[in-house]
Symmetry: D3
Subunit: 132 residues, 6 copies
């Protein structure tokens, strides 16, 4: 993705679908598919609020939003699948592997060494999978 | 602070003291003072590891590090004093009030609306205090 | 509040405003006011997603939703202001003081005795304030 | 389980065993078995305190207690095996799949979208396993 | 307290009352008093399970149990009142101020620097209050 | 390990390597190896800060530090790999299986029954692996 453009004529749902597709790519589409037979309305909310509302706001770049997403998910330490989605999203929107590694190492300061280690090992899995 | 320059001739402690001073400013100095009569060695560790080691690494800008700090502390939701220090630090290293507000709003997605609300109210206190 | 009626002709924002007003009452209005000068758009999101979308869904009663809100906020233990808002909301939608006390005591099982104790003391403050 | 009846002549242990059996069923028995060779006394405590004491209290229905259990475990996000036990228990005491799905979706509000997603995927596993 | 002796003829409640009194002292009694008008049964559970059951088990010394209590409460970071009670209890059962300070500093490793800092500042308050 | 001796002539890195090797043994070495191709500098920090700085401090015995580590990691509940490393380290520095089991059971009080159960099941895996 080179850049994210806001189109004010889109509905929240359309805008969110486009944003999820461009930012999270295949990993995001897999989450949405997995919701189909348990909570299809929740897939709609995932499109609408995080992506149609929040990620589409102009006040912070999508690259900066992915720094915030990776940092918070690694710090909480209880959402590994979502952390992996956002590590991949970070790569999609222009963060380098080195920058993502730095963000995860920094989490040792705020959330402890285990949170940093588990984040780094999640990144390793994503980086390896992307290489193949 | 215009920019953070790494000086490889400094010791970790000197580098950390300089970084804490430039990034966290008065709020950082207050934390260090408060440690003097309970755990002075811990003040040394605060200088050395988070600032002398992590913040001094060249792979991620100090501005980006403060996005990660604000996001993670707001998401964990159990470290309000440190969140305020880093909101102030974010302003010191070039994040705008709008950007900080966006980061905190985004935390509603990963950590829930209460985490975002409490982060926003912490920012409000910092912003008001800076104005006076 | 005797009961919450869904009006499909309302917008999400209108529906959310009505729900927040009826469920959370004054405590909810205070949160919204406090957002006005820091993040007014976030007030809109609070109306729209938690209240306009989630609380307005017909699959679970508002009383049952407040059981879930009180339990989760007490268990996480890092969102006392929001826990108090929902203890008050619980009373507004028909939970008794005894039922709320039981929910909070039960949190000792899942989140530990400190979470239960801090929840009970938060409830005590709300119950006392309502009496006056 | 049609309904849970309190028998005041039972000991805490007997009452807890009966409650665990009726509420958590096979999933609960598996937890107890797994404790036998590491901490058999802890199995006794699981019977006595959560079930013999808390679940046997008359002030809140067992159905309402399972709403609180599912909500709190999903919100904390670090206890997936116990969340699954209580999703199954919820079905045993009369919550519908739709109601459980609603509780889990609602956790997006208090604990973030990842907590809701991971809770929904845990429910999906339980629902599928029950079908077979 | 010189040492904790188990008396098998006591009931759980009597044993727990004696243990809470000897270990937590005044801080523990204050918690129990505060429960009287909101959840008196919960005061009974606090006596019975944590103190009558767990602390009275012979397999780990009360001093070692207070290390575990202080470490876990500081790491979770959302239970400051209980952390203070157990810092005082640690002093009551023979931990030195230096040892308690070391435990809290160590939490920087597992739970991050904010958890350690907030634990140290809680200890400072307890230590100062004991001096007067 | 019979005992840990501090050698003031060592660098932080040397001291940390020696401490990690003696305390965490093979489990610790595996963590370091796993970091080699994603974040080798973080391996250095793991040696230096937790082990070269904190564990080498004389104010608390290594046995007591492992009580604190096991308690905090079990209570947080989001760092199972690190909990297992420290359960093994606890055995290496003189904690008995019974003592470790007691620490984990006690976590039911502060962090809830799920945290205690998941900690006990992690210990069971470590104990079984050591036996073979």
């Amino acid at each position: 993705m080179t850049q994210w453009h806001l189109d004010v004529n889109e509905s929240r749902l359309e805008r969110g679908k486009r944003a999820l597709d461009q930012i999270d790519g295949e990993a995001g589409r897999n989450v949405i598919s997995a919701l189909a037979d348990i909570a299809p309305d929740f897939a709609t909310y995932v499109f609408e609020f995080p992506f149609g509302d929040i990620y589409s706001r102009p006040g912070l770049s999508v690259r900066d939003r992915e720094i915030a997403a990776i940092a918070s998910l690694a710090a909480m330490g209880n959402a590994t699948p979502q952390l992996k989605v956002h590590i991949e999203a970070g790569l999609n929107v222009g963060l380098t592997r080195e920058e993502i590694t730095e963000i995860l190492m920094q989490m040792a300061v705020y959330a402890g060494f285990p949170a940093a280690l588990n984040g780094l090992f999640a990144a390793k899995e994503v980086f390896v999978a992307k290489r193949s």
